[in-house]
């Protein structure tokens, strides 16, 4: 086989592979979008259509109507508030901790870092059980705080891990120079490190927001009140008895904000994830 033929074969394999991967990964998403845009009788037909001949937004209009059994509008508002709050609180807690664990002299530093990774080995339910009991005893179920505490706690180790990747990639010389210029420890942290960490903080906020948005187990156990229902649980509620088209529309609405964020910030998210792989 000549080099030219080899190139041709290689290129064919690449494009066939690319199309296959695209179909495999994207089809489930396409399927739910398609369902949300078709009339109910066509959705339920055994004559499954893979390509639409028309498009209808009736399911979206229905699901977004106030008073619909799936409170998707309220749930989305709740989720925006809870996810944003979780992101801000988590990053605020994680940032100073990351700095101390990465750059400062701290007894047991290695142990703490190892422990933060080790919690990941335990099933979440192992921690959730006592937290649930405590929440019941303190009357924290069905409250924003009751949701916020586990949300923040469960994303904290992960966030410290992300921020550490960023901090380690910053040259320590800048901090050393600032110290020589007479910065005290607090100034060094607030005026030098925090501004340098800004891209990392944005990435951290983004990742925690997404993870809080998709969280399901915590709201499942900690909320029953419709007033604070986050969107993932709201959607789940709708799986009881509802038109399939409407369920698909609700699913699309639930996924849309995080998928939009992921598409917009794909590069940043990929960098955060792969930075972890290098360590």
């Amino acid at each position: 086989m000549s080099l030219k033929q080899g190139r041709f074969v290689e290129r064919t394999v690449v494009y066939v592979g690319a199309v296959l991967v695209f179909l495999l990964v994207a089809f489930p998403l396409y399927g739910v979008v398609l369902t949300s845009l078709q009339r109910e009788e066509d959705v339920r037909s055994t004559n499954v259509n893979f390509f639409p001949t028309y498009v209808t937004f009736e399911h979206f209009a229905e699901v977004l109507r106030p008073g619909h059994i799936v409170p998707i509008r309220e749930a989305m508002t709740n989720s925006i508030v809870i996810s944003a709050l979780t992101a801000v609180v988590t990053v605020t807690l994680a940032l100073p901790a990351t700095y101390a664990l990465t750059r400062l002299r701290l007894p047991g530093r290695r142990f703490i870092i190892a422990a933060l990774i080790a919690v990941y080995l335990f099933p979440t339910l192992l921690f959730v059980l006592p937290i649930y009991i405590q929440a019941v005893q303190w009357g924290l179920t069905d409250t924003f705080q009751g949701l916020l505490i586990p949300y923040v706690a469960f994303s904290l180790p992960f966030t410290i891990w992300i921020l550490r990747g960023f901090l380690e990639s910053l040259p320590v010389e800048i901090e050393e120079a600032a110290q020589l210029d007479g910065c005290n420890q607090l100034q060094l942290f607030t005026q030098i490190v925090v501004p340098l960490m800004r891209p990392g903080l944005v990435a951290g906020l983004l990742m925690v927001f997404i993870l809080a948005w998709v969280e399901f187990l915590t709201p499942l156990l900690f909320t029953s009140d419709l007033k604070i229902l986050p969107v993932s649980l709201g959607l789940y509620r709708s799986t009881y008895d509802i038109k399939i088209g409407q369920l698909a529309a609700a699913a699309v609405l639930t996924a849309l904000p995080v998928l939009a964020l992921t598409t917009l910030f794909q590069r940043m998210i990929t960098e955060v994830i792969t930075a972890g792989a290098h360590r």
Partner: protein, 316 residues
């Protein structure tokens, strides 16, 4: 990873040694304390309490320990054939999801590591399942597996098949349907980890090998695969741990059924704790899952070590 903390640089103000701690250390403690308090309250304390619960009967009125029963709950997992099946299923589920995401992720990473038209788009698409809320994942896979109007059966009919299978109606099929759904959502992380790994491989040796006449397949078999082994193992472990903790997809698609055909240890913890309110057994199941996870990781590491020894590879 070199920590260069210039301790000599900071000139210490006089009288700062009152507490006996270096002021830099005190500052560090101050910074790390809030996060550690949260971690202690939400991880350490609950883990300890669950450990106590796992050897006790829990009084549901007070949520306190009613009486201690020793390792009875643990022994039940070892003796009861139903629970043994659940444990085995957990390992099978986690292992197969991990393996699937590894193979798929590696193929995708290889693809994305070379330039082609549309690569930018594919990079975005490949990441998307990671951000799909698990419940949405449940809904969309539910539509794929649905018996009457599902896409999978529709596709099979379009190919001329019968297309009447009730995918989630039979335990073994349902389990594998869940494995595929979970692998779909977990695949992006594997692909990205492996892609990052591929990009760390030196280009020079490839060029040298190509000049020496090594074809694409030989370069892949003799260079890419062995070089990627050290990266594949952490990915496998990561995905195994993640998959053995899968909850949402099981809850939304099958609720552990039919029968208990898709009940894994993690799902059993939920059933015991929140459906049957058996906090003691639930805690023991949670710890059994943790121990089992550690054991499997141990086996992975051991196999990797054996493989390394056999191929005469020197430790990195």
């Amino acid at each position: 990873m070199i920590q260069s903390v210039p301790q000599q640089v900071a000139s210490l103000p006089a009288g700062s040694h009152r507490v006996g701690l270096h002021p830099r250390t005190r500052f560090a403690l101050l910074l790390v304390a809030p996060a550690l308090l949260v971690v202690a309250a939400v991880y350490l304390y609950p883990a300890a309490l669950t450990l106590v619960f796992s050897v006790a009967e829990v009084d549901l009125a007070t949520f306190g320990v009613d009486r201690f029963v020793g390792f009875q709950h643990y022994l039940r997992v070892l003796r009861d054939p139903t629970l043994q099946a659940v444990a085995g299923r957990s390992v099978y589920f986690g292992g197969l999801v991990a393996l699937l995401t590894l193979v798929l992720g590696f193929a995708i990473a290889l693809l994305l590591s070379r330039p082609f038209i549309g690569r930018g788009l594919l990079r975005v698409v490949v990441l998307l399942p990671w951000a799909v809320p698990p419940v949405v994942s449940g809904v969309l896979w539910g539509q794929i597996y649905a018996a009457e109007y599902g896409f999978l059966n529709g596709f099979l009919r379009a190919l001329g098949g019968e297309g009447r299978t009730i995918w989630l109606g039979e335990p073994t099929q349902a389990l594998h349907a869940l494995i595929i759904a979970e692998a779909w959502r977990a695949m992006p992380l594997s692909a990205l980890f492996l892609l990052a790994g591929l990009q760390t491989l030196p280009d020079g040796i490839y060029e040298a090998a190509a000049l020496d006449g090594a074809g694409v397949l030989r370069r892949f078999r003799d260079m890419t695969l062995p070089l990627m082994m050290p990266i594949a193992l952490p990915v496998l472990i990561f995905q195994f741990v993640a998959a053995s903790k899968a909850f949402d997809v099981i809850y939304v698609l099958t609720r552990g059924g039919p029968g208990n055909g898709t009940t894994t240890l993690n799902y059993l913890v939920y059933q015991q704790a929140f459906e049957r309110l058996e906090f003691g057994p639930a805690s023991a199941t949670a710890y059994t899952l943790t121990i089992l996870t550690l054991l499997v990781i141990g086996v992975f590491v051991f196999l990797r070590w054996r493989l390394g020894v056999r191929s005469g590879e020197t430790a990195a």
